[in-house]
Symmetry: C2
Subunit: 326 residues, 2 copies
């Protein structure tokens, strides 16, 4: 089994790599080769049995896409993307990397033309949806994104489904929930506070909450995101049918419920490290985001997320803090 | 008022041109200039008060798109497309003309960059939807096309909405129903029989029906299609909101109901000119097509289709047969 990961140097890409190295197998088959691609060469994992190749390349360059595909990976995890805020600030860059990059990758697979038909798992996002929403968003709800990032993800979903229908490749698109708790430093993403208000207090630092506590979102942990990708890689395409893009399960909760969960796990002192500083711009952006899904198809296909927001916090403490709270 | 029509030599393009010439105005403003673009130069209309320019060009050529947009049309009707059957047979041509052509056109408008923000009316199609369907398809139903043509139309809808949201242009996408009765000769489109079984019998000729009479579709006349385009050109963008792509109203009826309407209008002798010759391939293709919509948003915004299939037949007799039946 040969696996290619695009965007391998990103947060999810690194966690996926570690998990694959730890498992040593994917979908019941031993991993013989791992190709890790990103714009800057991804780090080589330690203690790995499989052959590892790292590539510094931009998949929006058709020659780079062809070179990566020329190695005939059996499974492709396509994670490479310009993130939401950057795609909104720089329209051309978002279109180039997100849309043209994905198309170049799909075209490279199609151009092989010798019956090569790899499983391609595409990390889409719930940003393909845009307000107004019903109380719970069903699997057959329209894609009406309100960002360029969401638009590009939705266009790629459609393209992936058509390439799959025509037999050019074997695609599965998974719409990731808001991923919390993101490790690392606070960033300027509008969604950053969802992680900050848990991560910083657990680390003995102050966090800023820019929105009302009634704000609702759809959450899963980085560990769950990796498990979705791995489950998608082994999914039976026939069970999936032509609607290959799936909304992932998650936890629907408000900011107030996030804070209450933090208090139950870490106590009042930790929870008191959250400072309220309303930011109308962030509040307006977040108001267009979806809060609750009925992710029935994904659940029926065996995708599983955390059962509570407390579990998401515990995953963070286990995976990032060595099980200890500051 | 300067109007640009892409795909002006096609059936809808020619009818739209005739209607605009007859009206002499659009959205309450006199038409001063008409630019008619197609891969082969469209015919010049007779007796036209406005200045007319005909252009033979492929809008998928960015230079051609820039040249057409350099004339700063106030309203653009973007009809140019490779049709469904051809886009399925020739994947690359469909992607190039339908997707890249539309993108080149939108990019040419965006590149103007001097506050130029024309109304762009895009002719989409109910082919953006794919089975399985609920009994009546709501306005917020997912786009899950089962053809490359439908995929390309859905991707352009998303792109048009994002360009509109960002203020690059002022777009409206209209999803046309199955257009019957198409004038002219029978063609090889899988949908051809919906028109043939009305057109040929009225013309004293035999028609072939390749599917069961229980097959249901969503119909509007060519005259209604032109009225949708004209209504979309004058629509208030604020009333539309961010969901700028609209399913058009139509008539839901079965083939049996089509034939019954023909019999009521033209008698048993005419209706007896339909020969049953089941074709499993066409039956399979047509089974994936939508049959009934709840086109509430379009109706609320003032779009109007025919009230019955008889009215669709009468429109054909008036517009194509000089009011007479053979």
């Amino acid at each position: 089994m040969h696996i290619l990961i695009t965007g391998a140097a990103g947060m999810i890409g690194r966690k996926l790599t570690s998990r694959l190295v730890a498992d040593g197998a994917l979908a019941g088959k031993p991993i013989e080769k791992l190709t890790l691609l990103d714009v800057s060469a991804p780090q080589r994992p330690d203690r790995v049995a499989a052959g590892v190749e790292t590539i510094a390349a931009n998949i929006a360059d058709p020659a780079a896409a062809r070179a990566a595909i020329g190695r005939r990976p059996d499974v492709i995890f396509h994670l490479a993307a310009i993130v939401s805020a950057e795609a909104e600030l720089d329209f051309e860059k978002g279109m180039h990397v997100n849309l043209d990059g994905s198309r170049a990758l799909f075209e490279a697979v199609r151009a092989a033309g010798d019956g090569y038909r790899p499983r391609l798992v595409f990390s889409s996002s719930i940003a393909v949806f845009g307000a107004p929403f019903p109380p719970s968003i069903p699997d057959d709800f329209a894609l009406t994104p309100l960002t360029s990032y969401g638009t590009q993800k939705a266009m790629i979903e459609l393209l992936l489904a058509d390439h799959t229908r025509r037999g050019f490749l074997d695609g599965v698109g998974i719409r990731l929930p808001n991923i919390v708790v993101r490790p690392g430093k606070p960033n300027k993403a509008a969604s950053g506070f969802f992680s900050s208000i848990i991560r910083e207090p657990l680390n003995g630092e102050e966090a800023v909450l820019p929105v009302d506590e009634s704000v609702r979102n759809w959450h899963a942990s980085p560990r769950a995101a990796v498990s979705f990708l791995i489950h998608a890689a082994g999914l039976d395409g026939n069970a999936l049918g032509p609607r290959i893009n799936l909304t992932m399960p998650g936890i629907c909760c408000t900011v107030a419920e996030q804070i209450a969960a933090l208090r139950r796990i870490a106590g009042d002192k930790v929870a008191s490290r959250i400072r309220r500083a309303p930011d109308p711009l962030i509040a307006r952006i977040v108001a267009g985001w979806p809060g609750r899904f009925d992710a029935r198809r994904a659940l029926n296909l065996g995708f599983a997320a955390e059962a509570s927001f407390e579990e998401i916090i515990r995953v963070h403490i286990e995976d990032e803090l060595g099980g200890r709270i500051a």
